[in-house]
Amino acid sequence: MGQTIIEKIIARNTGMDTVKPGDIVTVQVDRVMIHDIFIPFVAEKFEEMGFTRIWDPDKAVLIYDHLVPASQVDDTRHFRIGDAFAEKYGMNNVHRSDGICHQLMTEAGYVKPGDVVFGTDSHTTTYGCVGAFSSGIGYTEMASILGTGTMWIKVPETIRVVIEGTLPSNVTSKDMILRLIGDLGADGATYRALEFSGDTVDAMSVSSRMTMANMAVECGAKCALFTPDEKTAEYCGISLTDAEQGLVGDADAAYCREIRYQAEELVPVLACPSQVDHIEPVSKLAGIKIDQVFIGSCTNGRLEDLMMAASILKGKRVAPYVKLIVTPASRLIYQQAVRNGTMEILSKAGAVITHPGCGLCCGRTGGILSDGERVVATNNRNFLGRMGTSKVEIYLASPATAAASALTGTITEPETCRL
């Protein structure tokens, strides 16, 4: 019988011929990611466990992003503990202000197709965009991996998602994944792998696939998988091996569920306050007054997203009394946006542009709101209280919807997302 992508990755990693859902196996971990919020806890648990060395320091990556720049006096304590831990255990892969962890892991070449990767953050599912098995774990679990280089997992079932056709000109991969989350529900993919295929997916950039893999956890998924192709190879700066090219779901593989979408039928959507699976078409909510727009995060803070927003904002200005906050996902992206004129367009339109990092998404600073205010944001979560008081309404959207809404000061369907 054929195998799904996740089964192939796990089988190869564990040296077995095949695996099936429900099997409990021990994987050899290819890379781990720890960020600033949790490094003090990882460090503490690691030493409490009695480990004296990291199994392979080169496989560990430490990234400061949630707390860059620091907004509370004790934030920098996380950097000091992180720096001390990295030095003590010989970790050289440390990024102190280069951008969001999930952006850097693939951008900086730490993750390759077929890798097994864990990170201390739920959106670690992101790296499935290059065909890696990547998933979020807690800091105690991370400490045990740092010491042993292994982790037990239960082989998940796979939900196959096939998207075919051409997306309408104002629909992005963000609208696609929000639609899927709405259809599945916040727990519709719990414990499962989401495997994406179809010619719509083939036509997407790696950046667009990244948006979808990033949000997979919002329907409970363990991981998301995309088959590596030439775009993946170019993005990762590699040539694909046969094994990597073979990371595609077999025709006779067993899926617990198959969902199909015809791209032409999709429309721009929003995730409404305060659940990610509360999905409505933008057109239904058009005209609702908003106070702020946030374009950024590991979901939609890439060059493609900034350029999409810039093409809508070019030569125009953000509506009076509305704030547009733009936070690019990495230093590299910021530099690229400066060089190709995108930053200038965004600034002239009135954007408040901050340094690459998590920014408002993690809700500590970066544009916090107050009772009765509404924000349209391109990140991945709109939970109650996430960006201020429990009386703040957060609508999740694509960069195109966000930019169009910033211009009018109301929820607005974009005319196009094409550059």
Binding site: P69, S71, T76, Y321, R339, K348, T354, T365
Partner: protein, 418 residues
């Protein structure tokens, strides 16, 4: 007897022929600036304490959000919303996220001869354009907002004669820190610091803004400079005309006079925890730093960013230093983008943030922790100013700050390794 610049401006605002230091007059104000530090308090008082709330002249008000932007808490957001809603309802000129208040005022509003109240201590900045700008609290601001007037005790003036030219690698910031070091944190208490002399010719507008901006740190009521061709060029480029350009009369009376030879000024550092605790930068070399800050109403302008970029080009920020670069306004940011300066800072590993007060204000952006050291182009280094009470702040020029960011310790630019 002749009048000083300050006396002339006050006389005109009071509608009288002449005034003398020590007099109290009721003056008409030309402009009233308030930022997100206190405007929400002013609004509360407006609604709660007045029997007949009214605003004398809406056109004089300028409200600017610059201290806590982007907002760092629901409390900040609520105070911003209060300010925004009031400004919107009353059609008050409102700037949010466009830059530090004093930079916005210089770029868009200040005219020579004006008398300006700002609900912020560094309102003395406007003297660079020959305007009498002074900081007031929210109660004085409210009164002025409602009536268009205020009472003013006419201050005495200390005159600073500037000669010569600053040496290469020494900047206006070093000059003003030297002056504050000499006269002390109370040295100009309640007085006007007036800057004249042939040395003025060598000072650009950015230099003059940096000098006037810091005068409150010597206790000054305000700072003033004459309007010469350099100032007129700045004004004209922005489509503004003076209200009136004044100079002190030849027989005006000054309480003290100092002469400073600019060619003798050296790179300066103000040590924790006082702005007047100045020493030559040479004496502070080697102090390990955790964070460096290039920005603020004092040194966040294009010329300061140029200095920083020139030093950092081809170099990297030290791995254990957080180097915050914060242009003082959106206009400065866009000019820096165009000149490739932002690219240089990002390439070097700096943290470039939106135009705002940032770590000079030390409330929510770039705050430093216990035991940490910041070297900064901000205006103050009081205990706990940038974050934790057990942290230290050194003030220095853009060049010294940037060199230190690269070296990981306090360093002068001309001693930085290639």
């Amino acid at each position: 007897m002749g009048m000083t610049m300050a006396e002339k401006i006050i006389a005109s605002a009071a509608g009288v022929e002449s005034v003398r230091a020590g007099d109290i007059h009721t003056v008409e104000l030309d402009r009233l600036m308030s930022n997100d530090g206190t405007t929400h308090l002013t609004i509360d008082m407006y609604h709660q304490k007045l029997n007949h709330p009214r605003i004398a002249d809406i056109r004089k008000l300028v409200w600017i959000i610059d201290h806590n932007i982007p907002a760092d808490s629901p409390k900040t957001a609520a105070s911003h919303k209060k300010m925004r809603d009031f400004a919107r309802a009353h059609e008050i000129d409102f700037w949010e996220g466009k830059g530090v208040c004093h930079q916005i005022m210089m770029e868009h509003y200040v005219r020579p001869g004006e008398l300006i109240f700002g609900a912020d201590s560094h309102t003395c900045t406007y003297g660079a354009l020959g305007a009498f700008g002074t900081g007031v609290g929210c109660t004085d601001y409210l009164y002025a907002m409602v009536t268009g007037k205020s009472w003013l005790l006419v201050p005495e003036t200390i005159r600073f004669n500037l000669k010569g030219k600053l040496p290469e690698g020494v900047y206006a910031r070093d000059l003003i820190l030297t002056i504050i070091g000499k006269i002390g944190a109370n040295g100009a208490n309640y007085k006007v610091m007036e800057f004249v002399g042939e040395g003025m010719k060598s000072l650009t507008m950015d230099d003059r803004i940096a000098i006037c901006n810091l005068c409150v740190e010597a206790g000054a009521k305000t700072a003033l400079m004459e309007v010469d061709e350099i100032a007129m060029e700045y004004l004209k480029a922005r489509g503004r005309e003076p209200k009136v350009s004044v100079q002190s009369d030849a027989d005006a009376v000054f309480t003290e006079e100092y002469t400073f030879d600019l060619s003798q000024i050296v790179s300066i550092v103000a040590k924790p925890d006082f702005v007047d605790a100045v020493v030559p930068a040479e004496e502070a070399l080697g102090v390990k730093i955790d964070e460096a800050f290039l920005g603020s109403c004092n040194n966040g302008r294009l010329s300061d960013l140029r200095v920083g970029a020139m030093i950092l080009k081809g170099r990297k920020v030290h791995p254990h230093v957080r180097f915050l670069v914060v242009p003082a306004s959106q206009e400065v940011y866009e000019a820096a983008l165009e000149e490739g300066l932002i690219g240089i800072f990002m390439e070097a590993g700096a943290i470039v943030m939106n135009p705002n007060c940032s770590v000079c204000w030390g409330s929510c952006q770039g705050v430093i922790g216990a035991g940490e050291v910041l070297i900064s182009t901000g205006t103050r280094n009081f205990k706990g100013r940038a974050g934790h009470p057990d942290s230290k702040v050194y003030l220095a020029s853009a060049a010294t700050v940037t060199a230190s960011a690269a070296a990981g310790e306090i360093m002068m630019a001309d001693r930085l390794n290639a």
